[in-house]
């Protein structure tokens, strides 16, 4: 096998807690994920499921207080990032793991030229001279599909459209060719035709550089089209993880099935959707067992009482459900 079987990133038993006035919540509770070089892992979940916190935890960007990583390991290329000094961590963030956020406008400084911002990392982390940085900035913008980048490097963020800004942020992330890209809802703020362009760009860049990617999205369809592996998150936990094909062809967790049934299909005007009943989980008041149990049609009394670990139910297919055999697609 030409590909290195070792995972580039492996998160084990990660717990990220936040202290609030009303109590402590676990935004990530015992999270396990693996990503290999050249592969994309999709993290899918609704708001509050902990998917963005996971990205930030990997980069150790959890504001403390109120947040804190209280357990687990984040193995990147064999090193536990949680053991690194802040200076070493800064170097990792600048060169090897990069992140793209949802709203490109908040990732860019409105009063600095786009070209300068894209290449700042190159000067800081690689000691590239100003002149070379300018040339590389132009080249990076060309690679992400900005027309006439020579003149546009001198422009400011307000002069660019949302789609172009997200390209610029991606160019900034690609400077120095990172091994891992964390993309946190990179297309959510964009229109569908622009989303289409950005997804095409991300996949093309990945094919060219063989980087690993973590794509966080609330949109199952985006993940289905772009990821090799998928992990479904709910209330800070991974509920199910599998290859994309296995997860969509034969989901093994009632929450995954519920999400799929909630989405209207563009191909047909279905009469009724099958929503997930009840309200999203309140992280302050979770039962010790499965957090989805109160909304689940298959739940028994055991579900709410005992913590449920991820079990391998088929090769590479893990689910945190006591009754995966009860689940069929279309009937949650």
């Amino acid at each position: 096998m030409p590909e290195n079987h070792q995972a580039l990133l492996e998160v084990r038993g990660l717990v990220t807690e936040f202290s609030l006035e009303q109590g402590t919540i676990a935004a990530n509770a015992d999270v396990h994920i693996r990503v290999r070089a050249g592969q994309t892992l999709g993290i899918v979940g609704e708001s509050g499921s902990g998917k963005s916190v996971l990205c930030r935890a990997i980069l150790r960007l959890i504001p403390s207080p109120p947040g804190r990583i209280s357990a687990g390991e984040i193995l990147f290329d064999g090193t536990d990032l949680l053991t690194l000094s802040e200076a070493e961590m800064r170097r990792v963030r600048g060169t090897r793991i990069k992140m793209v956020f949802q709203n490109p406008m908040t990732s860019l400084n409105p009063v600095r030229r786009i070209g300068d911002q894209i290449t700042e990392g190159l000067s800081v982390h690689y000691g590239v001279s100003k002149r070379d940085a300018r040339d590389q900035g132009v080249e990076l913008l060309r690679r992400v599909g900005i027309p006439s980048p020579e003149s546009r490097v001198r422009e400011y963020p307000h002069q660019w459209s949302g789609g172009m800004l997200q390209r610029a942020v991606i160019a900034m992330a690609m400077a120095g060719e990172p091994q891992l890209l964390l993309a946190d809802e990179p297309t959510t703020a964009l229109d569908v035709t622009i989303q289409d362009q950005i997804l095409a760009l991300l996949l093309e860049l990945q094919e060219r550089t063989h980087m690993a990617m973590l794509l966080v999205s609330h949109d199952l369809a985006v993940v289905a089209e772009t990821c090799d592996q998928v992990a479904v998150m709910y209330a800070g936990r991974i509920m199910e993880s599998a290859s994309t094909k296995a997860l969509f062809d034969a989901p093994m967790h009632p929450y995954t099935v519920g999400l799929m049934n909630s989405i209207p299909d563009m191909g047909a005007a279905a009469e009724r959707l099958v929503p997930i009943s009840g309200q999203p989980p309140d992280l302050l008041h979770l039962a010790p067992g499965c957090p989805f149990a109160p909304r689940c049609a298959h739940a028994s009394s055991d579900c709410a009482e005992t913590p449920i670990a991820l079990n391998e139910v088929a090769p590479g297919h893990h689910t945190a459900c006591l009754y995966p055999e009860r689940i069929t697609r279309g009937a949650p």
């Binding site: 569908v192 035709t193 289409d196 362009q197 997804l199 289905a224 909630s262 563009m266 999203p280």
Partner: protein, 339 residues
Amino acid sequence: MSAANRDKDVVLTVEDLAIDFNVARSLAQLLQGAPRQHLRAVDRVSFEVRRFETLGLVGESGCGKTTLGRALLRLYRPSAGRIDFLGQDLASLGHRELRALRSDMQMVFQDPYSSLNPRMTVGQTIGEVLKFHKICGPQERTAEVGKLLDLVGLSGAMAGRYPGTLSGGQRQRVGLARALAVRPSFIVMDEPVAALDVSIQAQILNLLKDLRDELGLTMLFIAHELSVVRHMSTRLAVMYLGKIVEIGEAGAVFSSPSHPYTQGLMKSVPRLIPERRHRDAVLKGDVPSPLNVPTGCRFHPRCPLAQDICRRVEPPLIKLGGEHASACHLAEQAQSSWK
């Protein structure tokens, strides 16, 4: 109302409607005597809404769909054109008449966080509407609020709660109850589920369908998400840069779209098919600025089919057959090459 309109039971007729906004000038521009600039958000649009139908209005941000929806409730004054609602020209109405009319037409907004007053309880928010429009006397108000909450699937106990303690889905239900309080026949839904998570979105979409059938509502349903619009609409209009570029019965538009923009939009939507895509983006480039609308067909700079005529001549909305109309010189060619 003309005789022809009455035959089809038309609720709302829009003719050549245009909405302009003034563009702010900087001090420097003022000193240089730069002329006042207008941004035409809705550019001479015509369509009608028929009783009991849901007309879906879809398009990307900045295409004018929200402006159009608001204009129908006379939240903006038209720069040109007419809006006829049940035989009255909205543009000519004064305050008092508008107020009366608004008990027949209502709006549900996208953001359930900013559209509710955080310092008023749910009961006060809905009760205020009942009081203002004199729907019922003070004694019956509490009971009426309870009925409305029940209608949108909330418990009566919610009346005492503040919006801050509600989830997004619950807030959107409150927004809906407030709109329904005046018993309108026509509701403009402006992205009513865009801010919600998918599991909650499905609950709200089902509720909207139920209420529409139960109460016999006529709707303009504005959304950017094609699958949601498909789910809700009986007819569909597609907007691009202030213009309706395609309109027709929803099934027909989705099965055989005739405008290259509609086609591009449909192909851009990711599908639940678990295979890594290897294609390039369907539509290249950005939507042009409405301050600098391209000549001819405004879609031509992004259109894969564009020819010389498209750069020169603006295509009118022309019927292709039946209800289906398209503003494209090459509509028949585009339609026959679909899929």
